[in-house]
Symmetry: C2
């Protein structure tokens, strides 16, 4: 009886598409953005946002240090490869992508 109830829940989750909790978080790092402006970073971020849905990815936030040229992007999605594909298609690929199963506040 208990097992049946659990199966029902799993099925309900599948049917309603409530898979939010199955999404992993990722941080990716880009180098070489020395002197880039806020509007240039916004344009790059919007290129990701425009195509991310096809991969089930969402780029939540991006931070830039224009002195060192480092950019950090925080995203959620099904896999590291999916995050990488969005960045590659948007024209700013990186191989430095970390999955973040652990987060503390």
């Amino acid at each position: 009886m208990k097992r049946k109830a659990l199966c029902g829940e799993a099925e309900l989750t599948r049917i309603t598409g409530q898979e939010e909790s199955e999404m992993a978080k990722f941080m990716d790092v880009h180098s070489g953005f020395v002197g880039v402006s806020e509007s240039q970073l916004r344009d790059a971020h919007e290129q990701d946002l425009a195509i991310e849905a096809a991969e089930g990815v969402h780029f939540e936030r991006a931070w830039l240090d224009p002195d060192s040229g480092k950019v950090f992007c925080l995203s959620s999605g099904p896999s590291k490869e999916a995050v990488q594909r969005v960045h590659r298609k948007a024209g700013h690929p990186t191989d430095e992508i970390y999955e973040l199963p652990i987060e503390v506040v």
Copy 2:
């Protein structure tokens, strides 16, 4: 006259301690945390939280990739050096700290 007014504003800010908007954001990166658990990361984060006030720093969030051993900490504070001092005193120093004047959502 104009100059006097500006001095007055600066003084008011100093007196009331309303320096929130003058805080910068930082991302720092640690390596070598392969296989670290959530509770170990939480302990390390709490060591920062316990002593950060003395430097006017706040560690907002930390993420860990236990496979690569990378940790990313997002903080706010008056300077990169202040962030570095807190981490050093808490026992997990890093030289890789980036100031993030630009953020997009």
